[in-house]
Symmetry: C2
């Protein structure tokens, strides 16, 4: 890799420079020991998130095209910024390239990454390149939010309604189809799994217009992520099974426990008006925050059961 390193970095750098929407605020981009960025304007706070994408843990080479991986590596970080109600500005990418990731593969990977970066208004300003046996990538996304207007998963309060954006279970359904070798990329579920859309505009709308306090993104499935939000907020939740917006073709198990939908989960006082959709994405009330620190599922006919968390029985307290 060392031999190729300079030319790989040069090609990424050329591409990054062409695509950079924040050029004026980048003092120094790719190519030095660190990126140098202009300080944020007064009244803004800095958001930082970092996410690993590892072969074998998060994807399989034979199932996930390079272009989708470049997209997803960045989408994971952008979705975190969306969940905070922020505006993404910069990204850095650390990548460990195995021998099989040749020029063509890398080209596709970066095509996926830069396509999403451009549409999100994000500049790639740095990273790290090494060689190894398995592919690994870590994406860092820096963003900004107005001071005091940040969404936090720890702010859910008893009595608030629980909402999700879009529909759930699509990514799990798409993955199941890919596993069965049904690889049509026109299939909406497969597309949802390979090319998830971070809800950036929605996150800002929730923070700035609806004055939502509590939100997070759904990366590991509704039940596990709701468990995390409840634990951080020291509350419980009741989920209405019949209200869940299930992705067409998915089952309720996929909607409750399937990961990687990258929709937003948020809460808001029941007196507050939430529009039915935002920019074409439905917003659905699916339950209520409770003082009792249990996670319950209310089924047909009002039958209450304990909500299993991603297959495990987590204890909240």
């Amino acid at each position: 890799l060392k031999k190729n390193e300079l030319s790989i970095i040069q090609s990424i750098r050329r591409r990054a420079a062409k695509a950079a929407p924040q050029a004026a605020r980048i003092r120094l981009g790719i190519g030095d020991d660190a990126a140098v960025l202009e300080a944020l304007p007064r009244g803004q706070e800095l958001l930082v998130t970092t996410d690993l994408l590892i072969e074998g843990s998060h994807f399989r080479r034979e199932r996930h095209p390079a272009r989708a991986l470049g997209h997803k590596a960045l989408a994971r970080g952008l979705s975190d910024i969306a969940a905070m109600g922020g505006q993404p500005l910069y990204a850095l990418l650390s990548v460990c390239l195995p021998p099989w990731a040749g020029e063509k593969w890398r080209k596709q990977f970066f095509a996926g990454l830069f396509h999403l970066a451009r549409s999100a208004g994000v500049a790639l300003v740095g990273g790290d390149l090494s060689a190894g046996g398995r592919f690994a990538a870590d994406i860092v996304v820096l963003g900004s939010a107005a001071r005091g207007q940040v969404l936090q998963r720890s702010r859910a309060a008893p009595g608030e309604l629980i909402y999700v954006s879009g529909s759930l279970g699509g990514s799990a359904l798409g993955l199941a189809r890919l596993r069965r070798g049904q690889c049509s990329r026109a299939d909406p579920a497969v597309r949802r799994h390979l090319y998830p859309i971070p809800r950036l505009a929605l996150g800002r709308f929730l923070a700035e217009k609806l004055h939502v306090q509590a939100a997070m993104d759904l990366s590991d499935g509704l039940s596990l992520d709701l468990f995390r939000m409840a634990a951080e907020s020291r509350v419980g939740a009741e989920i209405w099974a019949e209200a869940l917006p299930v992705f067409p073709g998915a089952n309720r198990g996929q909607a409750l426990h399937g990961g990687e939908d990258y929709e937003l989960l948020f809460t808001l006082g029941s007196g507050r008006q939430v529009p039915r959709s935002f920019e074409g994405v439905p917003l659905t009330a699916i339950g209520v925050v409770t003082r009792s620190r249990r996670l319950s599922l209310i089924g047909p006919g009002g039958r209450r059961t304990r909500l299993p968390v991603g297959g495990f029985q987590h204890k909240l307290a």
Copy 2:
């Protein structure tokens, strides 16, 4: 891992909160989708760097103790900030834990990381946790520098002298000894390999007091890193073999090509006074920047040969 995740994160978070020296400027630390940080004061610029540390590529489990890996993961990022002349402020850690990294191992890993964080004045504010077959960690370090006072590897100019801090080849020697099973951790070379010291105070001294323009850290060996500096600066270099400060017991090959010394390489006009040492760390002139874009080694008796670059023959132009 999901089952343990909350308790692992809680224990890291408690530790990070105790150790955090920047608490007042951290709006939101570990535990949400992103960290939230107060914007830097006016006149400061933001430095960001990201570095992967991967099992099999950067270390071997049987050779590298957990504590040393925690130290080194962070040291790599801090060294990048040192090379820019900056002050490190915050770190984020993404980590992929394999089944063998049990509680005891993790405890040691974080002990090494937090010990260095405390001594460098850095707060751990976020990260990402996943499970996988091999250990991988990505460290992100955020820092600051006064506007326009950033050291850049692209600023070396013909006629300037080339300096290095400390001595070279110690890490390569220590690794060679570890490979031969000579594992005494009191051995200075082994310590240099396992617990490298990022030259943070020196980096700031170079930028603020000596008004150095060009610097980088030596992570991959003098020859390869000098090649990178020369390529970025569009210059060449002559290295005086006899002047190299070789780590006691190391050979010249290790000093020229051995990685992971994490010393600083910098250039300064020959009319400028550089002290012989800074806080006990020697500063040694080892060559001169040339207009001709070759890398040469001047040996005993003035014999000039081409400087081989980390085993490869790189072409500069």
